[in-house]
Every structure is written in C-alpha cells, then in structure tokens.
C-alpha cells in the first residue's frame, strides 16, 4: 500500500485543485459538466490521486518518467540530432465504459467502412464508375497506388490496423478528425504510457477497474499470424530505421509482439517471395507489418529514389508470396477530400448511418462545395485535400492569414480547387492536466486503434491521447510540442485480469527463436568491439594517471612509461599526435573527453550507444540504461578534471559501468547466436589490442616498467604474482599475456573462445568445406597452441594481430549485410 497522507491534506488539495480549475467558455470539458459540476468518474479518480502525498510534485511521476528516459523511450524529431525526452502528463484521460462502448462501435464501423472503400477502389471501381466518388478525389492522393489496382490482397484484407483521431466537439459528441490507414503509429506509445502511469500509481490503477491493453495486442498478433500460409510464420516489422520519428515505438512494439524488426536492406525479394537475410542465409518473411510509407516500399516500381524499401516487393505481393499490412495503397484513405463523402459511402457500402460523424468537410473539387467554401472563407479552416497538396501543409484559419496570403489562397483556390477542403472550425473539448501543481484544462485529441483479429475487428481499450498547450487547438502534432497522456477505460465492475499465459496445448516449446538477422549480428558484433575498445582505452588512461601519481615509478624513469602510453593512445586515435598538451594531465582528459578524437572514450561510448540504438529490441532495458548512464557520467565529467585523482575516479567509475555491462551479457543474455556475435566482437578486439600492447611493451628490449605496465593493462598482475615469485621476466610475461590458455585475458584464450563460437554458428552450405572465417582462425589457434614464448618476437605477434583483423573482415563478409553473400545493390543509372 502507498503511504497514506496525513488526514485532511488530500481533501484540501482536491478542493484547491477544483477551485482553481477554469474550463474555457463554450467548450465542453471532461472534468466539469455543463452545469459546472465535476463528473463522478473524474472526481473519484482525483480524490484518490490527490491522496498521494507527492501528487502535485514531480517526485513520484518524475521517477517513473525517468525510467522512460533510461529505457530510451524518447522520440526523435526528424532531422534533430539529440533525442527529446518524452512529454507524458501524469493524469490519464478517463472514459467510462458506457461512453467507450459507443466510441468502440463507431471505430469498428469505420474500420469496416475503410476496408470496403479500399476493396472497391483497388478492385471493381464501382464507386467511381457509378458517380458516387469523383475519380479526382482518389487520384489526388499521392498514396493512391495505380500499380495495386486489380491486385487482391494475399490475406484477403487491406487493413490490419486502422486508427481514427477523435475529438469531442462543442455539441459534446465524439467526432472523427482524421483517418489513419497507411501505417498508424501510436499504439506502442500507448503501451509505454500505460507502463509508466501504472507503475507510478499502482494502487490507484488496480482499484479503478481499468481495462488492460495486453489482450488487444495478443489478438493483433494472432490476427497477423493467421494471414500467413504457414502455422508458425515469421512476422517482420518493417521500419524506416533509427532516424524515423517513431523508431522507438517501432522497436518497442516489435519486441513486445515478438516480431523481427527489419529494414528494407534486410529483406530480399526473390522468386515471388520475400526473404530475410540471416546469418544462416535467406529465410522466408511470411508477414510484414510495414511502418514504411508505401511509396518507399519498392524502388523498382514506386519511388525510384527510395533507400528504405526492397526492390521487387510489389511483385512478391502480386504473386501472393508475402502478406504486407496494411496493403500498399491503403494510405489513400487519409485524404481529407474523402471525409465529405463518408456519410454517403457508409450508407452505400454498409447500409448504415455513420455512428461517429466526421468533422464537417467540403471538398472544393466540386463546384457547389467550392462556392460554399469561397463564400464562408472567413469562418472556415482551409486544409489540404490530400497529403502534401494545396498551399499550406496544415489547416489554416483565414483569420490568421495576412492580406497577401489571403490573395494567394483565393487565387490557388480558384485555379486548383481540388487541392483544398474547407472544414468547420470545431474547438476540441478540454481535459484536466497538471501544470506546476495546478489543475488546468487542455484541449486533446484521442487516437483509437482497431485491429483485425481472428475474432473480427477489435478495439484497443485505451489509446494515444495528445494534449495541447494552445487553448484553441484544432490539430495537434507531436512536432508542435504537444504532450501525451494515458487513456483509462474504466468499468463499473471488476475487469478481467487476463494474463498472457497461454494454455499448454497452444504452445510448442522452443529454445531458439529463429535465425539471427544479419543486421542484428552486425550491430552486436560492433557493439562488442566498441565496448572492449572502451575498456582497453580506459585502462590505458588509468595507467597514464597512475604513472603521473606514483612516486615510486620515477625510480625507473616515469617519463618513458608515460611516453609509451601516450604513443598507444595516439595510435588508437584517443589523442591527437600533432599537438602536445601543456600539462601531462591534459592528455588524460583529452583521451577521456575529446569528442572530436575518434578513439577517445567519449567517442567510443557514443559509437557503442548509436550501434545499440539500432537494435534496441534486442537489448534489455538494464543494458541500455547502463550505456545511457555511462554516457551521462562522461558528459558530466568533462570539466571536472583538475587533478590526476579526479581523472582516475572518472576512469574507475566508467570501468565499473563496463563491468556491469559485461556482467549483464555474461549472466543475462541467452547463449544464442546474438550473444555469440557480441562476444566475438569483444574477443577479436581484445585479442588484437593485446597483441599490439604486447609488441609495444614486451619487445626484446623491454624494461621492467614496460612489463609491469603490460600486466596492468592486461589485468594480469595478480595472476602473475601468484604464479611467479621471482619478479618480472620477459618470457614469463609474454607467455601469460599471449599464449596461456588458462588466462582469460590472453590472446590464446580469446582465440579459443572464438573457435568455440564459429564451431556452433550455422554454415551456408552443408558440404563440409570450411568457411572463410574458420580458414583464418584455425591455423591461428594451432600456432598459438604450439608457440614458444622465447621466440615470440614482435614481428610474429604482428602477424597474429593481422590475422585477427582478417578474421574480423571475414566474419563481416560471411555474416553481415555488406558481406559477399549480399553485395550492395546499385541503381542502374542514366536516361535510357
């Protein structure tokens, strides 16, 4: 139970909130009814909410919100470098069951209507032929794909997921503001919002009978699986990639639903089917849930400039070899021009009246409507009839236009009337939000999701609610600084606590989940290399600081050790070799923080994080959290180095973070192919680094200091001291660092581990012939097993190092996207 507040505090806070709450005149409000009284379901919620001792501070919610930042749940604005943190309001939008039933019925009807419209447009075309819809109301949409006319959807349906943006109008009814049929986003955000809010207020969430979201997603998954022609289909979520505005949401959904997150490059269309490139070769992709707009899906047939698609995808769809959802071309439904035809289309196609009205809309492509809009220009909003058409990107009010803009608009409207719609300016109803501890009304829009499941169309009981800080909000875009809120559908009776535990008969036990996609293997491998290189660089900086601090080392000449270290750091790109800092300490600081040096710790950590961000669905939240912390700590420490001790402290802290990452990969990552690639990356990097350090510090003329330093950097001091009582000897150190198969830090140990990995990874052909990586690795392993420390000169060590680098390339060629099994595709050029 949450700690109860002192008696009296909560009612006081509640009455203060309610007293300060001022709904906008003439605009319906969710909290206050028309008579100015708070509605029962909201009051019940707020009473409980106010009883949290820190309800009006950021404390509790801030903690939950911080979890979001740590789990990386932020969204990216196009073209923006840094991620923005997620603006989530603490108060959910509360909708009582009875009202929700009406919304759900309305959205279900609309989803069926949308399906019927698509079936006609891309099929028989009767709506146009019989004059119900003008042809231009369809052809104006850039998402009308002529190439899809006459192509039956492989699974029999065009839409898998449909979403409607709803708002409550001045008359108190819910209105449809927009249709989302191309690749609706936001369901993943709804999931994440629920996670945070239910985590912040667990008791409240459990006491009110809030409908759970999980059953919807389970049904969605079953619905998608049912569209395939195999019993255990491979389902992919096709993403535009990490630079997409909603990439996080896509990664989150893919992980939650157990879909493979793929980019266009990961897929190959051959023989009328679509395949995923995996480390075991091409594997069939049965069902693709796309988040790539249709125009970019296939550079051969659609937008030839697209880098996001897969050449030949449309042909595979036509051949029925892959189910792509929503069917390419579905985006045509998002045109505002169609809104004005919806009531008639609903009557015609479903024989019913629309259960949820549209916002009143007039398409100017028809003479009478054009005349009406021109006559009422002062009171209507003018909006693009089709995505990207017309004069303005977003709806505009004539009142907001300058006389010049107005003149241009009138001319455009006269010359290209089909590009515009006029829309009634409806103010959206407001809901309470907390701002600076005060309860305030904010306009909101609600996105409601429908999915096709084996049991028919099903509605997510909740949704993605966006609130605006502008009181006159009509259209809300995430890009305009709007915030989001969870949506609670509250029943008067206890809701079914459906958990996702399936009954024993339905689940076939398995231990390995399909084949690792090549891109994921690539990212994991490089993540391993970056992490290992970061650790090695930190050890170098630590040694550098120690050599400055340790007075004893001056006996052997600390200047020389310092120079050796500096040279390696320059070699590794952590320090600029040209300029020599005035103070020795500056070298340590630069190696840690100089973001312009490609080998600095900061640069390496950022590279690791960037690589990890491209496969977030494969990493645990803890792993990601540690990477975020590591980057954050480093960024915070840049100006905090005034002494060797301070530098050392930062290094130690970073090394502890890395130890945490290693612990997580060793203890918490399944021993499947993904882990092997992460570990191979680490082992190759560690082996090569050790070779370089050994030939720099354990050459034939090495000093005691050099050997001592090498043991430090190799983390082998304790092992050595335990094994040898005589002090440092060249051959003994060489053997321990290079050849000793029992020392987990030796090169031989890394190579042995690599051998184990390659032995169990799949081969492309079962002809018993070794693949290239093994051809490089096996001789190296044999040499290290039989080598003698006494003859282990620097040039020989260098050949080992070179072999490891060749191995890295061979692994990339064999397993990754840029490898020989998948030479990059080049567009044929020229005006032929």
């Amino acid at each position: 139970m949450a700690p109860r507040p002192p008696a009296g505090a909560s009612p006081e806070r509640l009455s203060q909130w309610l007293a300060g709450y001022r709904p906008l005149p003439g605009v319906p409000d969710e909290l206050f009814d028309a008579a100015g009284k708070p509605r029962g379901h909201w009051l019940g919620f707020l009473r409980e909410f106010a009883s949290y001792p820190d309800a009006d501070s950021d404390g509790r919610f801030g903690m939950a919100a911080r979890h979001i930042r740590d789990s990386g749940a932020s969204y990216r604005i196009y073209g923006e470098e840094t991620e923005r943190s997620w603006p989530l309001d603490p108060l959910p939008l509360i909708i009582p069951q009875a009202e929700w039933d009406q919304i759900a019925a309305g959205v279900t009807q609309r989803a069926e209507l949308m399906e019927a419209i698509l079936r006609d447009i891309y099929g028989e075309g009767r709506l146009v032929n019989e004059g119900v819809l003008p042809a231009a109301a369809i052809t104006g949409s850039p998402d009308f794909l002529r190439a899809m006319r006459g192509v039956a959807p492989p699974a029999g349906r065009y839409l898998q997921i449909y979403a409607a943006d709803l708002g409550r109008g001045p008359d108190g009814r819910w209105w449809v503001l927009d249709d989302r049929a191309q690749a609706p986003s936001g369901a993943g955000y709804a999931l994440e919002n629920r996670l945070v809010v239910s985590r912040a207020y667990p008791n409240l969430y459990n006491r009110l009978n809030v409908h759970r979201l999980a059953p919807f997603f389970d049904a969605l998954r079953r619905g998608m699986a049912a569209t395939a022609d195999r019993s255990e289909p491979r389902i992919c979520l096709l993403t535009p990639g990490p630079f997409s505005q909603t990439y996080f949401e896509q990664a989150h959904l893919a992980r939650y639903l157990g879909f493979l997150l793929v980019e266009g490059d990961d897929l190959v269309a051959r023989d009328g089917k679509v395949w995923v490139r995996t480390i075991a070769g091409l594997k069939r992709a049965d069902v693709i849930l796309r988040r790539v707009d249709a125009d970019f899906l296939d550079p051969l047939e659609l937008n030839a400039a697209s880098r996001l698609g897969t050449p030949g995808m449309l042909e595979a769809i036509r051949a029925g070899g892959v189910t792509v959802l929503n069917m390419p071309g579905s985006g045509v439904l998002e045109s505002r021009a169609l809104l004005s035809f919806m009531p008639g289309l609903c009557r015609r196609l479903l024989g019913e009246e629309l259960k949820l009205p549209n916002i009143a809309t007039w398409w100017c492509g028809q003479a009478a409507e054009q005349a009406l809009v021109e006559a009422r220009l002062d009171e209507l909003a003018v909006a693009p009839a089709f995505p990207g058409s017309g004069h303005f990107a977003e709806p505009r009010l004539a009142a907001d236009l300058s006389p010049q803009e107005m003149a241009v608009l009138r001319q455009r409207l006269a010359e290209r009337p089909g590009d515009f719609v006029g829309q009634e300016v409806a103010q959206l109803s407001t809901m309470p939000v907390l701002r600076d501890g005060q309860l305030q009304p904010a306009p909101f829009a609600l996105r409601v999701f429908a999915a096709v499941t084996p049991e028919g169309v099903r509605i997510l009981p909740g949704g993605f609610c966006r609130t605006s800080d502008r009181p006159d909000a009509r259209v809300i875009s995430m890009g305009e600084g709007a915030r989001t809120a969870d949506v609670w559908v509250v029943d008067d009776k206890p809701v079914e606590r459906l958990s996702l535990i399936a009954s024993g008969d339905e689940v076939k036990v398995r231990r390995i989940l399909g084949h690792l996609p090549s891109r994921a293997a690539d990212n994991l491998f490089w993540l391993g290399r970056y992490i290992e290189r970061t650790e090695a660089t930190l050890r170098l900086v630590r040694a550098l600081c120690s050599s400055l601090m340790d007075s004893e080392s001056s006996l052997h000449g600390r200047g020389q050790t310092f120079e050796s270290l500096r040279r390696v750091l320059v070699d590794w790109g952590a320090l600029d070799g040209e300029t020599r800092p005035a103070r020795a300490l500056d070298s340590a600081r630069d190696a840690l923080h100089d973001a312009s040096a490609w080998g600095s710790v900061t640069y390496l950590v950022r590279s690791a994080k960037r690589t990890a961000s491209g496969m977030r669905e494969r990493l645990s939240a803890d792993f990601w959290g540690l990477l975020v912390d590591l980057e954050g700590d480093l960024a915070g420490g840049a100006n905090e180095i005034h002494s060797e001790a301070q530098a050392l402290e930062q290094v130690e802290k970073a090394l502890r973070h890395l130890a945490g990452l290693s612990g997580l990969t060793q203890e918490n990552m399944n021993r499947v192919a993904g882990w092997r690639f992460l570990d191979m990356g680490r082992r190759i990097e560690r082996g090569a680094n050790t070779c370089q350090l050994a030939r720099t510090l354990a050459h034939d003329a090495a000093t005691i200091d050099d050997l001592d330093l090498l043991l430090d950097l190799n983390d082998s001091q304790i092992t050595y001291r335990a094994r040898y009582l005589v002090g440092l000897a060249l051959n003994a150190v060489r053997d321990l660092v290079m050849l000793d198969p029992f020392n987990t830090r030796s090169v031989a140990f890394q190579v042995a581990a690599l051998k184990d990995h390659l032995a169990v990874l799949p081969t492309l052909q079962e002809d018993g012939i070794l693949e290239e990586p093994s051809k490089i690795l096996l001789p190296l392993a044999a040499e290290l097993e039989t080598e003698d420390a006494a003859t282990l000169h620097a040039d020989k060590v260098k050949t080992y190092e070179a072999a490891l680098m060749r191995l890295s390339n061979a692994v990339a060629d064999r397993f990754f996207l840029q490898g020989a099994n998948a030479v990059p595709t080049v567009k044929l050029v020229g005006l032929a």
């Binding site: 019989e130 042809a135 052809t139 009337p417 089909g418 044929l828 050029v829």
Partner: protein, 299 residues
Amino acid sequence: MKYRLRHRTTYAYEREVSFARCVLRLTPRSSATQTVLESAITVTPEPSARLVRIGPFGAEILTVTVDKPHKALVIEANSRIDVHVPPAGDPDASQPWEVVRTRALNTADLSPDGPASYLFPTVRTPIVPEITEYTRQSFPPGRPIIAAASELNDRINQEFKYDPGATEVSTPVAQAFAARHGVCQDFAQIMICGLRGLGLPVKYVSGYLRTIPPPGQPRLEGADATHAWVAVWCGDAAGWVGFDPTNAILAGNDHLVLAIGRDYADVAPIDGVILASGDQTLKVEVDVIPEEEPTAAHA
C-alpha cells in the same frame, strides 16, 4: 505512316555483376493514334525469369531477372508501329479552358485514359508559382483550350534555348525554367507544371521522333533519340491532344508514343537494381525507320 523501331540500351560494368533485376517500360501501346503491329524485347544475357504485366498506365511492363554473372547487359526493343494521328480540328472551336478544368475534376474515370490521374502535381512536376504565372498569360478567361495551349507551346519553343548540355535527367523543373534552357524533357515538364498549375490535366509522353531533314530547313531536335512531349486533355469531345514544345508543333504522324505517365518517373524506360560494386557506363541507340522511305535516319 508505318515505322520500324529499334531501341538498344547497353550497360557496361567495370566489375562482374552477379544479379540484376530490371523493370522495362519499352513496349509501345496501341491507342487511338497508333497501332503496334509487332513488338519484342531481347535481353542479353538471357534472363532467368521474364514476367509481363499491364502497368499502372495501361502499357505492358516486362520485369526480367538476370542471375548469371555478366559484364554487360544489353536490352533491345524492336517494334513496328503504324501511326495515324487524326488531323487537328479548329483550335478556336475547342472548349473554354475553365470548362475543361471543371469537367476534369468530376469525371468518373479512374483509368489511365481518363484525365483525373493527370491533374495533380508530382515530385518532378510540382506546382511552381512562377511557371503558373508564365502560363496564365496564354490563358485569358474563356479562351478555347487548344488555342491557348498552342500559344504556350510556341512560347516555350521561342523563349527557351535548346541546350543539350545545360540540364540532366534530374534537373529540377524550376531550375530549367529560371534559366530558360533545357532539352525536350525540361520543356515538357515546364509545360506540364504550367498547365497543372491552372488545374488542367496533362500527360508526360515519351517516345521517338522521326527525322525529316528537308532541304533548307533545320533538322528537328530530338531526332534519333528518345523524345518527350505532352498530351493535354481538351474535353470529352477533343480528348487528348499532343503538343511538342521542343519543336512548336502538335504531335502528329512523326511522333511515335512509347509510354505515358504523370512525369518522367512513370515512363522511365528502365528501372533496375544490380548487385555490383564497380562503375558502370550506359549507351543508348535509337533507330526510327519509316517503312515507306528507303533512306533511314540513323542514331
């Protein structure tokens, strides 16, 4: 007028290519103005798969897959075409252009022959206010559409410089317009932008132009190469009328239509992807040979 047509494209690669997939829009289509008597496409090396379908604009599209290693890809399209464009009617008797605009917005024809598909801007043919303004000068209220479009066709020919070196296939239309130069593709796209800016339906037409060098007259530009012009929908009665702004003429029996679309992207003869890492070079040869005349132009 009957023609024999050969369109040969050769890609030469620096390094061996292991796989190629190409979409070929190289099969001319019969229409009211021409009849395709024969047509065939050969590809070397021999494709492992050939797939024919009817494309989004009504023409046959051939998709080929070549999966044997090769250093050159040769695509040759051969056809015989009978062109029979009816004589143009009296331009001043055509419908007022505003009437055509209103009519086009309300047709009940979603097919590639109806005007609705050609009313809206595309990536290559956006609405450019300067081009709309330029076009507007030939379109005073109530003017018959063929007369107005003919004047625009002549103005582009007179006020723009034909300069094969000035633009590339990717040059934005606004840039070619501002510089007042370009080649057939630029002029066609400028005319398209201008007419669509006024809400009129207009097609991009790709094809070939017969070479006729009569004594004492300049040789027609665009001969023995692929050519581009436009077709304007002039109302239900007049239908589609071809205008060739590069030569300031109506498209007639010397214009062989290969493909139609909203802009070049819809008619690009070859779109393809290859698995390759080296450079490539491209050579295009076109022969348009009138069957009645023994002396043929050569590309």
